[in-house]
Point group: C2
Chain length 429, copies 2
């Protein structure tokens, strides 16, 4: 059998130790920050009933899934996102839980996407949700978790920008400009693409697809030429529905200021996100240079839990993927040194001392220190070479004369400094 039969599947990653250490670095930052905000970690199965995803996203999603029929004739799929599992789990339990529910998770997710350079078929995603609180303080808290997660990894407002909008504000503006309720979704679709299309084309689409007249279409498109809340306030602030949405949005921004994160945030009406899912404030976080795909996206989705048969509960959350984030950290040189290291390497001069080496290793490990040693008889030089390749910070040398006095020499591998320690206490600090 050719060894190529045993290749990794395309779009999947191996994590040898140097890559795993970077993944752990990111995961630990995510966990620390989520816990600082009082969130609790949960997880669900990587395999779920296919129906769970079809119900939320429609039949079209099946083409992008790793789905199959299992040996019990069930239609199943590898999870492409976490929110349906969250909704399912909460559907069983939310009634018994105090609200708001603050949960986070770091699942691996799978999509069968056409292979492109840099496009994977799996990634890990930090999922953070507050369920059971409709007020904008929850929206702000969730974005604060995302931004603090990035801060924890060494990214500041010059590195990443949060672009935030509000579906309800956008709806109010569209209605003010003359869009009928049944054309709102069509209007969102135009806004979603407004940055990538000419004004002329967007104008034509707003008229043809969203049913606006030329004046209404221009009023909307002018908002994208002079972006910012002030333009919105000035031109549409007298409409009650718009004024209400602006008040809510101001409170949201003030809360982010209060949390010390205002400098990361830009108002951006072009942020729409998935068409049928979000119901309020939405956001995406991008690298400041705009070179990569979104690092993170989220918003309020107040109707999802009901949809999968649970208690009707307002919810707000985000997902942050590890792939784009790690790419960004690498580009900006913010990844830590993950070279291999152990606290101690025990070198033995003469096999008679091996039992004492085991004893030293045991006692240091019992203190929580990491210890390695050669697993077979080697010359001292070779043992030191092994200590170096393990990245040992200290080498403890067991030699006959010193050992007879219950002593050993400890060498600091960074400084080369040596000192004698008592084998009874192993006291080096």
């Amino acid at each position: 059998m050719a060894s190529s039969d045993f290749a990794r599947l395309p779009g999947f990653r191996d994590f040898p130790p140097e890559e795993m250490a970077l993944r752990t670095h990111v995961f630990e930052a995510w966990r620390r920050v989520a816990r600082r905000y009082g969130f609790q970690e949960y997880d669900g199965p990587p395999l779920e009933a296919l129906e769970l995803y079809v119900e939320k996203s429609g039949e079209e999603i099946v083409g992008q899934l790793y789905n199959f029929t299992d040996k019990g004739h069930r239609e199943v799929a590898l999870r492409p996102e976490m929110t349906p599992s969250l909704a399912r789990i909460l559907g069983e339990r939310s009634r018994a839980l105090p609200k708001p529910i603050r949960w986070f998770s770091t699942p691996q997710l799978f999509r069968y996407e056409r292979q492109q350079r840099g496009r994977l078929r799996e990634h890990f995603q930090w999922n953070v949700d507050i369920v059971g609180e409709a007020g904008v303080a929850a929206d702000a808290e969730v974005l604060a978790v995302a931004l603090d997660g990035l801060r924890e990894l060494g990214l500041g407002p010059d590195d990443v920008r949060a672009r935030v909008s509000d579906r309800r504000l956008l709806a109010a503006l569209m209605r003010s400009a003359g869009v009928a309720d049944d054309r709102l979704t069509a209007a969102y679709a135009v806004v979603d693409k407004v940055e990538r299309e000419t004004r002329e084309r967007s104008r034509g689409r707003l008229m043809a697809e969203a049913g606006l007249d030329a004046t209404g279409a221009d009023a909307i498109l002018d908002l994208f030429d002079a972006p910012g809340l002030d333009a919105v306030r000035e031109r549409f602030g007298d409409r009650e529905e718009v004024a209400e949405a602006l008040t809510r949005f101001d409170e949201y921004l003030a809360t982010l200021e209060g949390l010390g994160l205002g400098s990361f945030v830009d108002f951006d009406l072009t942020i729409v996100r998935g068409l049928a899912y979000y119901t309020g404030i939405v956001f995406e976080v991008f690298d400041a240079r705009g070179e990569l795909r979104a690092v993170c996206g989220g918003g309020r989705y107040d109707r999802l839990l009901e949809l999968v048969g649970g208690e009707p509960l307002p919810a707000v959350g985000f997902g942050m993927g590890d792939v784009v984030l790690t790419e960004l950290l690498r580009d900006l040189d913010r990844l830590p040194d993950v070279s291999r290291s152990v606290d101690w390497f025990v070198v033995v001069i003469g096999d008679d001392l091996r039992p004492r080496a085991l004893d030293v290793a045991r006692r240091l490990r019992d203190r929580g220190e990491s210890v390695a040693y050669s697993l077979r008889s080697h010359a001292v030089r070779k043992q030191f070479k092994a200590a170096e390749s393990e990245g040992a910070r200290r080498v403890l040398v067991l030699a006959p004369d010193e050992a007879a006095r219950d002593e050993a020499v400890v060498r600091d591998m960074a400084t080369g400094e040596e000192r004698t320690v008592s084998l009874a206490s192993l006291d080096v600090d």
Copy 2:
């Protein structure tokens, strides 16, 4: 759509926060101990080419897998074990790595097994391997990691027992009793079941399937009646091949003694494990009362890497599953208290103080402390109730008079003790 359509798949677990906290408790113990022994963490994809498992285990395994054809017409399977992925990953890289390679992982594994009470279709498994070292010190080191992992979780030699044997010793004994080389596998199969069958039946099988005469069969079966290395030494120690295996085994046990773990270990010739896989010392760890399935199993497998096209390297490792282990920890009441908790809950008297609450929260979180607060305006009593349900250790109360003096009251929720702190320093310790 009935909500039952959204049930979890049978044999899969959800991990709501209380279960996730226990999983994290176990995982963190595993990671701490592996690192103490100088092991580095790695991971591979949960989906691999089906062929990788068939090559190692034969076509029979397909019936137990979650396998399917992906949208690119590839035959794939959810990983049922980690070792084939390890072998594949090392196949690409081992030549560039210093030996021995000490790697560990904590993958989720999947098997489509017939549903039985307590039998799941997924579990997490601590995989620990040393690759590139043939000596018994590596065998001892690997078992030491397993036992220290259990010790780290509060289990001692009265709770768990390691049953160890050696395939080479067993082979030497079988050959001494008269088993031909091509019948060794058949003889192992009898030994594997010797505890569960009558002596009469085992005797018959040794004669019929392993080709022994009555004297040979009795000589082997006598070893199981008077277990222990002494019986082996006494009856077969004059055979050179047996004597060599005994010397090696003595060194193995002495190393475990040296590492302070000898009290966990029993010699047990009935431990055989998978038939075609292991090549040397093998072991299983059981609860001392013998009520549960094995907590852990492993041994030496010197030919696997070669089999999947890699560098021929000796290897020794184990897998420890989370399901039986957690069951045992629960039975013995060794699971920690995982009730919800945060370091701080900030209570606000009057919404004017909300910005100061956000500032306090931000500063405490920047110190690494966990902080929650009500996300909407609530009466003080209700805020204290929320603090309790979050498991807050301290409540910081922002009230108008104190805040005007840049002070706040901090209540210790365990003792009820209150003290005034400066809002500038937030210095409570």
